[in-house]
Symmetry: C3
Subunit: 261 residues, 3 copies
């Protein structure tokens, strides 16, 4: 991780427009606020362009997408592309229904994302590779490296595949991230919030591969830090401390609260 | 409570499709994840059948229902009935407006629930009995046993009426549950989440009356456990510890953290 | 603060109907429940009148408003005006898009709010004054007193402008509130929830200026109380304790947990 990326992202207090799913909005907004970004969440097509134009990055997340929302996503995405700000696409549960696949394809025909972020089953579904999904979770195994490269080539974009080991394909190379904690998969929206933290880091002046690997590394360290706290006994008590940890410096996450506060 | 039902429900990690209200989605998903289930939440009619077909149970909750959402609920419900998976219907606030009553009747004409779960005012409203409601809460008194039996006969389904004493009518008998804690009524969605935990237990190989009474007993014990913790000073600090408790074993909830961790 | 207003609001357990934004619903409902109110949240136009008629106050919050939702807000608002119950309007992010400005103007043409509550940028936008906004946040400076008076005159309503110092314009006078804590601006929806607490206090038998200043003072004290607790290390751990604090008495918030529990 490059701590300067985290610091620069915070200095930007980037305004990040979200068209995202209803399940995670509150958690996602609080997590991004804690990190140092500024969330805006809105789905009305009539303001999609205004919002994207005022923003520093855009997150499109199809977790609870309605057919009527796809056009607002496309309008916001095109405005973001025109302005040249980063666009993160999270194809949540794309393998779970043909409808979601249609929606993602429709979006990708008109919007060029900076990065597509998903679990193995979701990204595999984008390139018709065969990794089993179950609802919004990935449960099968497969050659994740190859899938990341394929998806990156197909959509000419960076790819993040989250999992026990996260795989990043960006700037023509593969990067792996090993930070993280199993409790992350026990709270809903941990992948979605990662998309927002990545978007914040993408507003800095570094290469995409550096930005994404720093975002993922930081995010996983925050989870590790929170999970170790003595009052954390499960996913419920993990969540508030994880949000806290997203507001800490990389040094604080490494050294622990005692050393640095 | 039969601890084997809780254990079997967890072994299933049941995928539970929710068409539920916007207020509780995040809490509900986190609670079900903690318990050991796998939530999916989506309201687009075009994927309602795909989602129901991939799922192990379905929860229909009308807490913030829009007229445009009723058809997706019916489509999902019919697909669930065809597949033979459990359907939990939660008629939140049905006594609060004639619109909600219309919606519930419309759903019940086409979908056969495994259980209808609500507070006394809500279930009373389904059989035109007279228990006072206020918004989404039940405030009056009445013969709850009789109402449970009437509603069960009318809709040929199991009934759960939540309250200080919960009443279950299933398998031609009445069962009472006394576990629980007043703090549950100070957090929004505690009834909604109970519907998801019940749905998870309904995926096991026991009778409906055993499944429902174990779900309710476990849920109440988790609340009692959390409420007793020394750092819990109100509904805000209760909530994270309650989510934790939903991930514990029945034995842990009985004996307390000290004995069993 | 007048503690009797807080006490009377709680004795009323006011049923407060919300047409509010998707990001904050859960937090907002939990905060109002903790305080002692009873939240109902629904956006279907067909039940807007029923709900408003059953309620003791109405909150209209445009944070994630869709064009299709404006009519339900107007229907609910008109029913509330007819019944004579307090209406709180929160024009979240009104300066962020011309669409939002249209929506607020449309609502204000048909609904008469008891109070309009927003940050400086939002209220400035209503009177075409010039305070810079960024997304849903106010970032510029300006003559806030004057803006409060102008907006109050223009819409014949009380005005609350939140900020480091809150400004209330009601009953032909300006009142200032200094309670509060910076952590409030690091959790999403803290302004929205304040609208609900204000609505609860507006159901008491005091003047609007007394009701609003007591609501704001109490809310800020609750934040100060929570922020001082030894286990609060950031916005994540602040939130549950803040919800707890909303359930405390003014005396408890002043004296601290040790003295009063």
């Amino acid at each position: 991780m490059n701590p300067d990326i985290i610091q620069q992202a915070r200095n930007n207090t980037p305004l990040i427009h979200h068209l995202t799913n209803q399940v995670v909005m509150n958690f996602n907004a609080n997590g991004l606020l804690a990190f140092g970004g500024s969330p805006v969440m809105a789905k009305e097509i009539r303001e999609a362009t205004d919002m994207a134009k005022a923003s520093d990055a855009l997150v499109l997340n199809i977790g609870t997408i309605l057919e009527s929302e796809a056009d607002a996503m496309i309008t916001a995405g095109k405005a973001a592309n025109e302005k040249g700000i980063p666009v993160v696409l999270d194809p949540v549960g794309v393998a779970a229904s043909s409808f979601r696949k249609d929606m993602v394809e429709k979006i990708l025909q008109e919007v060029r994302p900076t990065v597509i972020k998903g679990n193995a089953g979701e990204i595999a579904s984008l390139v018709d590779a065969n990794i089993q999904s179950r609802g919004v979770d990935s449960v099968g195994e497969g050659n994740v490296d190859e899938i990341a490269e394929q998806a990156g080539r197909k959509y000419d974009t960076a790819i993040v595949i989250t999992g026990k080991t996260d795989v990043i394909h960006a700037d023509q190379k593969l990067i792996y991230n090993q930070t993280g904690h199993p409790l992350l998969s026990n709270i809903t929206g941990s992948g979605c919030l990662l998309g927002s933290i990545a978007a914040a880091c993408l507003t800095t002046s570094y290469t995409v591969s550096e930005q994404l690997s720093s975002a993922l590394s930081f995010y996983g360290l925050a989870a590790e830090h929170a999970a170790k706290l003595p009052h954390v006994h499960g996913p419920g008590t993990f969540l508030p401390s994880f949000i806290d940890a997203l507001s800490f410096t990389p040094k604080q996450l490494n050294g622990g609260l005692e050393d640095d506060f």
